[in-house]
Symmetry: C2
Subunit: 467 residues, 2 copies
Amino acid sequence: MNDTKTENAFSRGGDAATVEDRDVLEIVARLHDERPADIVETLNALSPDEAAAVLLHLPIDRAIDVLDEPDLNDEAEIVPLLPRDRAAALLSGMSADRLADIFPEFDEVVQQELLTRLDPEMRRTLKQLLSYPEETAGSLMTTEFVSVPANWTVGQTLRHIRMVEGSRETVYSIYVLDPQNGRLVKAVPLRRLISADPDDSVTSAGPDRKPISVTAMTGSDDVARQITKYDLLAVPVLDGEGRVIGIVTFDDVMDLMIDRQTEEVHRFGGMEALDEPYMEIGFWEMIRKRGGWLCVLFLSEMLTASAMQSFEGELEKAIVLTLFIPLIMSSGGNSGSQATSLLIRALALRELSLRDWWRVALREMPTGVVLGTMLGIIGIARIAIWQETGLYDYGTHWHLIALTVGCALIGIVLFGSLAGSMLPFALKRLGFDPATASAPFVATLVDVSGLVIYFSVAILILRGTLL
Amino acid sequence: MNDTKTENAFSRGGDAATVEDRDVLEIVARLHDERPADIVETLNALSPDEAAAVLLHLPIDRAIDVLDEPDLNDEAEIVPLLPRDRAAALLSGMSADRLADIFPEFDEVVQQELLTRLDPEMRRTLKQLLSYPEETAGSLMTTEFVSVPANWTVGQTLRHIRMVEGSRETVYSIYVLDPQNGRLVKAVPLRRLISADPDDSVTSAGPDRKPISVTAMTGSDDVARQITKYDLLAVPVLDGEGRVIGIVTFDDVMDLMIDRQTEEVHRFGGMEALDEPYMEIGFWEMIRKRGGWLCVLFLSEMLTASAMQSFEGELEKAIVLTLFIPLIMSSGGNSGSQATSLLIRALALRELSLRDWWRVALREMPTGVVLGTMLGIIGIARIAIWQETGLYDYGTHWHLIALTVGCALIGIVLFGSLAGSMLPFALKRLGFDPATASAPFVATLVDVSGLVIYFSVAILILRGTLL
């Protein structure tokens, strides 16, 4: 089926100059001097059919560079539209880590057809990379790095770099291996190498320290942390024996950081993170990502109806109390959402660890009381002003109602700050990502308790008068 | 005052071996082989006095590397504790961009005392860097880059790099300048240079394209976008004449991205972003950052009390309606928060631009209706189950109440999705950062309208029965 489509798309590539064909050639001509990242922007605005036609007409080196760009959308649709041999040639030229990212997105039939046509070296590498679970160093790494034995000289190493430069993702870190067992001995920056004496041993050009490294199973966030902490261009990935099996480069980590940021904001907004741009994602996929959490939150929030039902007697006696329910509940949610946002980041940045929870609680308690008092004073002033100016009549006991609102606000903001700050710790303790704690999640958690606090304060203060 | 403190801190540095002194020397010995980023972690756990003592005892090169690390806290307190001449020597050795970051944090007296002692070249650079506004390429850039005239050969350039390598932040991009007017002609990667013929002209080793560049006033987010989009190690900063005045390197951009992510999450949580770690920030500073927005949101949310007051008649006739107020309001807030989180990221990543607002609105409308219908069905089922099983008696008109809740949910989720998605566009249109739209902000916006929708639906459906 896909093959017929390919034929249709590319019979156009022959002599029969249709309008679409001229369009494609015009686009190809215009893209000639553009950078790969800019070509990608143009392709993303085209249909997969058109994008495939453009890719087919670009010089093969340029087409490979374009496929290597992580921002290209729809590669899973574009590549199968190309003649299989051309597609296999393009994929064989790609960087191994990027190929391992897109390959699983193809249909199984397409995967099989392409796999048999891939360059055997690339096929082996691809299989190896695909064997690592997602979100690990193994799944992020590329195998195109430069390594030399420790008994080489600086001059030998530089000659080697000149030869392999074109086929390596980076040559700015050179990995020096023990010639006996292949273990990583040193990581020598190219800048040190070029200022060293060519006759010196390559090991003497590097720093004395053991190089920073990760294993294939190191989590991708930890890889990012190593690279940003030590300002590395790349970090080597070692196997159990200490041999280099790949490297993760800084640009892959940057892309990862951007994806993580999107993920974190989506999840904090109370939904599953979208992994595609807003306008690209299917309607029902969007409903699924948003509807799931929305229903869970709705079901939990139903407890507020039950809480209200249990205070039915009080509600009937003092309807005036209902006027402030939304105001009071939202204050709890807001203070909780602030505290959660603070703790999610503090935990993500490792500024705090699990055992610091009590230090945070000790900090949130006075913070909650001060913030609650601020809101309480405003709330009391609001009621007093409306009453005194005659804007609204809260009844003879209006000062008691104002006191109830003020005291309830202190209790609720205190509770919100505490609950909001402890939730990320609780999630982490239970083995979840602390960033699962979304603003709506905290608000829901705080709402039920907020109602109970409000009515309890009301019963305490208003017993014998309104209640 | 600071000077006396310095004397106290460093008279200990003499022969009188106090306990603290031995502690410091022990720490210094332990840190001897550590990487600067690891030394920083140790210093951050010490008091400024102790950290200054350690810095004083470290070899000067190591101490400079430590000060160059952006993760060092309290450098504004540590540096003034050092003898002025030592401090000036350290600062003169730092990378210019990092010095420009920390220098403004010193007291004015300290700034003056240090400035006169700085190496004249560094003093001039520092003054230049400090003249650019924050959050611009000018404030991020460093002046330590490698440039050569376009009439040099590859061999000449490599010899030059070997000489200056030690004093440059990066040598992996070489900027080739027009020998006449100093304008940037090319950016040649070092990897191309070492594989080129030493007798070739340096310009022939570079790519044909005009190099990517920014100006000193380019916003830091745009700089980050250029670097991540084109996978650059560094981007040159040009003046009005096209001459290179500095470069921004990828590691500075990574640090910026991490700060931005924290900022975005804090702001989405409904507060001003903290610029220091949670446990480092002062109590009243924290109150200020959280209290401001909390008060603004509280004042806006007061409109809910006014809305409730205006439906007082309905409330008295049908108290049963109050039971569902928290449930219904929170659903509007949750769907709004989801939509806002989606649009904040889509706008930040430039997936969408201002003029796409109507495409988003057209997408959010059916999404809101479907999500609202899902919640509406659950809400109706909840009321029916409670009623039929005798858990609660909603009165003879319970099916009309259920219908009211169901219809109100559709209206409110639709409104929440629309308002939440349009808010970031509106903020951007008004010249604010779309990320000012926090989850609590959206919830507040949706709450008042949610109440009005709920009571309007109730009046429509229940008129003649309960109302």
